[in-house]
Amino acid sequence: MIEAYLGVDTGSISTKGVIIDADKNIIARSYLWTEGDPTDAARRVVDELASQIDTSEVQVVSVGTTGSARRLVGAMLDAQVIKNEITAHAVGTTFLHPDVRTILEIGGQDSKIICVEGGIAVDYAMNTLCAAGTGSFLSSQAHRLGVEVEEFGAIALSSKKPANIAARCTVFAESDLVHKLQVGYSKEDIIAGLCRAVATNYLNNVGKGKKIVAPVVFQGGVSKNIGVVRAFEDALGMEVLADPDGHLMGAFGAALLAADVPTSQRRPFAFDVDDFEFRTREVVCSRCANHCEIICVYKDDDLIDSWGNRCDRGAIRVGK
């Protein structure tokens, strides 16, 4: 029986999961769409991971969750580690690329930059008010152009003269794109222009004021798009490495953090999520005008976790 660790990263668009062994090798991987239902996505990821390992040989002893649904999925999987995605990504990437200095990350709805010195994150920034230039923007534009977002990169590379698309804001980029289409630009030039716009937008917003030093690793779902990778390389004048497992880095980081929990907290993970029904219920606390929205998570009929109250008056206790 070998010990293993599970990491699940539930993002706005996709849910990722990995199982790693004691030597930190990935022995199972899964990547699928969240489709607006994080509990179901996590369940499907766990099932897919279970099918890739021999559960009579491999015993998962700790679980880490990350991503925007980390708390919900953490409650559901009874995770030992519930960690924000920035830390998880930094931990995952610095493990695989100990010499990395800059991590560029573009996900479904957020983007971030992490500066690393000597294998440890020393500075980071994350997009704040605006989701321009993230994965969801690219998918909606792909839909408009009638191509699959997965084909974007290859099409972009075939362009000889990328169109100049206004990069500052999603709304302006979109109207500029429509305008360029209507005046007759070819699709590949527009797609290449979009990829450039994503890179320019990123560097002018999230990357503003940060010193980008090689080696640079680019990850998150958008790193699968070779057009954007090339656009970053052109803009930065340096090589940009897109790891084949780049989209799994958050889940990998969560699994690494789970592997670090003390022995006393370890317990066998049963892969039995299909045997239970997980429901959430929203309660609006009426004790003051803050009207906190408290989320209660139920495993079958048992309340297993709750959060969202700003003060103790709104606390809903979990019966053990």
Binding site: I86, T87, I120, T128, L129, C288, D312
Partner: protein, 322 residues
């Protein structure tokens, strides 16, 4: 007036221009709640940013809404002379106001501000390491009540003495070399807990020692901008805005003192504090101390803030542990 709630911000936003900065909306909501509770005089400060125009605008919005009140808007005293302030207060609020009594009470009030800021410094340095959950918050609540009950300078001193003694007596478990974070930024957002979604409480819960030089004492009572600017003469040649010099000087001092990180708070669109950001980035590079930039508006999500703060804490704590 009770603590502002989410409703305060909602009604404030409802009656404000969408693009105006968040402090305008918070104050607007508080005005409406105050008027509904029976207030008949509203007061607004002035300052060297858009704040100088806010009183006039807020008054005009509230009058359009049908409220009847007196507006004590200090932007109407452009000279800034004490004599004119007093004359203005007499004219607007109370023609029979006794100047000597008014001055005596004002001095007591400033004394209270200074004592409360000093108390808060001690609170921020220690509260993150409490052994019993909630012990510091409970002591602070008692201290605030004592201050509320104070009627003269002697009461204020007594409340301060009692409050500080109680604060010093609460059991803490503080490591020899704790994670330390300095808070800098825009006047309203960095000081007003409901505006910054209780950022200080969130950081204290992560067992961090906090310092925030920005308060009324250091910005008004002991503010000497040219002097302060001398400490950052390598970075700044002139006064850039209402709190710019204080923000930059405090950040630099924290970095020199070996703080592990700086958090910069501002309302979204606050031009003076946006101008400060490149200077802070340069300081960050020169001193190798990370700065977390946070921008707030009326839609800022608590969850998004938690994610950024947790990541910032993890980063500086991991860096320190090495």
């Amino acid at each position: 007036m009770g603590e502002p709630t989410r409703r305060t911000l909602e009604i404030g936003s409802q009656h404000s221009n969408d693009y105006v900065c968040a402090p305008f909306k918070h104050i607007m909501g508080a005005y409406i709640e105050a008027l509904d509770a029976g207030a008949d005089v509203l007061m607004q400060f002035t300052g060297p940013c858009r704040l100088g125009y806010y009183g006039e605008l807020q008054e005009s919005i509230l009058r359009d809404m049908g409220y009847d009140f007196e507006m004590l808007n200090f932007a109407n005293v452009p000279s800034g002379s004490m004599k004119e302030y007093a004359a203005y207060c007499k004219r607007v609020v109370n023609p029979h106001l006794s100047i000597p009594a008014g001055v005596a009470n004002l001095l007591a009030c400033l004394h209270m501000v200074e004592r409360m800021d000093s108390y808060n410094d001690a609170y921020l340095a220690r509260a993150g390491f409490e052994v019993e959950h909630g012990s510091f918050a409970a002591a602070q609540k008692r201290f605030f009540q004592d201050m509320r009950d104070a009627t003269c300078a002697a009461d204020i001193d007594e409340a301060y003495r009692r409050g500080m003694a109680e604060l010093g007596g609460i059991a803490i478990d503080k490591p020899a070399d704790p994670v330390r974070v300095g808070i800098v930024g825009e006047y309203f957002t960095a000081q007003d807990a409901p505006s910054n979604l209780h950022l200080e409480d969130k950081l204290l819960a992560m067992h961090v020692e906090l310092a925030r030089a920005l308060n009324m004492t250091s910005r008004h009572l002991h503010y000497n901008e040219p002097n302060l600017r001398r400490s950052i003469s390598e970075y700044v040649a002139y006064d850039m805005g209402p709190t710019s010099t204080l923000t930059i000087a405090a950040a630099k001092r924290y970095m020199e003192q070996g703080f592990d990180g700086i958090v910069h708070l501002k309302s979204s669109g606050c031009t003076p504090e946006i101008d400060v950001m490149p200077v802070l980035q340069r300081l960050s590079r020169d001193y190798h101390v990370p700065v977390l930039f946070l921008s707030y508006d009326s839609q800022t999500s608590d969850t998004g803030l938690d994610t950024r703060l947790e990541a910032f804490y993890d980063m500086i704590a991991m860096r320190k542990a090495r």
